[in-house]
């Protein structure tokens, strides 16, 4: 019983940060129709930026709780600086090309960013412990949980609800939905599609960076943190159906639980449990759980 609760708690915590990252990925795919391999790099840049901001805040002698603000500022900075540069300067050139070719474009971007990060931050690991220590441990029903994990769950829920609300209940959101549905028709109705693309990409990258920033306190930030994340978040959005928010949430839960089940019952399977879960879902639902079947061209 206790193991079951632990598996559940670990799985949900893992699913939470995964959802934040995958939400960004699925949003970018929904609007720009690009499966962004470099998403993991932005995640890593977010982690580095968070480490830098937390270190600055500590050097300026700010109170420890402000380190949370530093995490947020780090991801905002990444989204505000890098995302428009990438979208306007690079991706715009390739719009309208084949989906798979666009994957390769972002793969190239991923390679470039991997080295740029090494140039900027070096190869030594960074540690950001301040935010993690803030929350301590929480006792619920005789079990002890890591407070930071619980906070992550809350942030993930807020992100998910926020994006859902923003898309479905605001004017800007409706415009974005129109572009997701058909960029061409939206443009002919007077929507500035280019601006929507930039905005959506910035928001997606913000979520990636936020995921990275929130993870930074739990790991040592060093080269290579982004590599594994890309593929895991791919698995999530593929399971859920590309471009679907509910799908990303369910996908993250499936992947998180599959992984924690493997970790606690049969550790050697940890590395591939995620892909097995994805393969099983795709066998039964070839387009993912929440994807409408596309009409075929005759």
């Amino acid at each position: 019983m206790n193991t079951a609760i632990t598996i559940l708690a670990d799985g949900v915590a893992y699913a939470s940060w995964l959802f934040i990252v995958a939400l960004g990925l699925t949003l970018v795919f929904g609007v720009l129709k690009i499966l962004n391999v470099a998403h993991g790099s932005f995640y890593a840049v977010g982690a580095y930026a968070a480490a830098t901001f937390v270190a600055w805040f500590a050097a300026w002698g700010f109170a420890p709780w402000l380190s949370l603000v530093a995490l947020l500022l780090g991801s905002v900075a990444v989204a505000a600086l890098l995302a428009p540069l990438t979208e306007r300067g690079l991706l715009r050139v390739f719009y309208g090309r084949d989906e798979v070719l666009l994957v390769l474009v972002t793969y190239a971007l991923f390679l470039v960013l991997e080295d740029v990060m090494k140039l900027v931050w070096g190869v030594n690991p960074y540690f950001v412990t301040a935010p993690y220590a803030l929350f301590g441990n929480v006792q619920i029903g005789g079990q002890s949980y890591v407070g930071y994990d619980l906070a992550l769950v809350v942030v993930a829920i807020v992100c998910g609800l926020g994006v859902w609300w923003g898309l479905n209940r605001t004017r800007t959101g409706k415009v974005v939905l129109a572009v997701i549905h058909s960029a061409e028709i939206a443009a002919s109705m007077g929507v500035n599609v280019g601006r929507v693309y930039t905005f959506a990409f910035m928001f997606g990258i913000f979520l990636a960076a936020l995921g990275g920033a929130l993870t930074a306190p739990m790991i040592s930030v060093q080269p290579g943190v982004g590599v594994a994340v890309v593929i895991v978040s791919f698995a999530v959005v593929i399971i859920g159906g590309l471009g679907s928010i509910e799908g990303a949430a369910i996908g993250a839960l499936i992947v998180g639980l599959a992984r924690s089940l493997a970790v606690h019952t049969w550790p050697p399977a940890e590395l591939f449990s995620i892909y097995v879960a994805m393969a099983v879902v795709l066998i039964f639902r070839p387009e993912g759980l929440f994807q409408r079947v596309k009409t075929r061209r005759i």
């Binding site: 994957v103 190239a108 390679l111 080295d115 590395l271 591939f272 393969a279 066998i283 070839p286 075929r296």
Partner: protein, 311 residues
């Protein structure tokens, strides 16, 4: 078909003769790029049907591990036999998934194949008997009963790799121009129409996947013989990404372009890792972006253009 075979023989003769003059590092570089080129040739084979596999690391590692294990555990040392065994092992590994994968297209095909290769990566990382994340070394193979001396081992392996590569390249050309090979091009254009015309799209896709697996397995076996070492990285997604890169760089028009592209990648990689050791990925990424931007149809389209311009 005769033209392809004659051209292949000429290229092979030139490569074998040129190899006698070339320095050792160049022989190794060409051998590696030919071995990797075989894997990318498999992707090009699938690309003609409109799908791109992001998981050829699966068959590359499958073939490589099979060859290395046969050599170390069972004492099989003949290079030709090992290459064939690598291809066969990759086919065995991939064939069960072929009917399933034949149903998927686009991103889903790419991601499912990627998932398969990552499952293999996970298994290899955790299997202690296979050296886990460190992998293991392989003994130097013999060739048709001879064990070449140190001075000649590099050339012998080079000769073997280019011979196999040219033979398979000719076979691929013949297949591309065959009826089934041309059906793949039609599928790329519009698969529903192909179905109405009476061809089985799934069978073509499944078979192409198996053929690609064979090419990838042979490539993996040859690569491990050239390197003398194998590790789970063979199956990692970044390795698969490089194979896709080469096939996109080559385009699906020309078989020769695949090997040219593979050599270009190998040259860019080894020169940039020699001259900018910390930023070779950056160089590679920029190179890739430039190619996609300015050569959308790949190097092969350049060849085709030159050919059509000639009188």
């Amino acid at each position: 078909m005769r033209r392809a075979a004659a051209l292949g023989l000429m290229v092979l003769a030139a490569l074998l003769a040129g190899g006698l003059l070339a320095p050792k590092w160049l022989l190794f570089l060409i051998a590696m790029s030919a071995a990797n080129g075989l894997v990318s040739l498999g992707i090009v084979l699938m690309m003609r049907g409109g799908v791109v596999s992001f998981g050829q690391g699966l068959v590359f590692a499958g073939g490589g591990y099979a060859a290395a294990l046969l050599s170390n555990k069972l004492g099989v040392s003949d290079a030709l036999l090992l290459a064939g065994a690598g291809g066969a092992a990759a086919v065995l590994l991939a064939a069960p998934f072929a009917p399933l994968l034949a149903r998927y297209r686009g991103i889903f095909f790419a991601m499912l194949t990627l998932a398969l290769s990552m499952v293999l990566y996970g298994v290899l990382m955790k299997s202690e008997g296979l050296g886990g994340s460190d992998g293991f070394n392989m003994r130097r193979p013999t060739l048709l009963g001879f064990s070449p001396s140190d001075a000649w081992s590099g050339y012998a392996l080079y000769a073997l790799v280019v011979t196999i590569a040219v033979a398979l390249a000719v076979a691929a050309r013949v297949y591309f121009d065959s009826a089934r090979g041309l059906v793949a091009l039609a599928i790329r254009e519009n698969e529903l129409r192909v179905e109405y015309l009476g061809a089985s799209v799934r069978r073509v896709m499944a078979l192409d996947f198996v053929f690609a697996a064979f090419l990838g397995g042979v490539g993996g076996a040859l690569a491990v013989m050239a390197l003398g070492h194998i590790e789970p990285q063979f199956s990692y997604w970044t390795t698969s990404g490089e194979f896709v890169f080469v096939s996109i760089l080559a385009g699906h028009h020309s078989v020769a372009a695949v090997f040219a592209a593979s050599l270009v990648l190998e040259l860019v990689r080894s020169f940039s890792s020699a001259y900018f050791p910390n930023t070779w990925q950056l160089a590679l990424g920029l190179f890739l972006l430039i190619v996609i931007r300015f050569l959308p149809q790949g190097l092969g389209s350049l060849f085709a253009k030159l050919a059509s311009r000639a009188p």
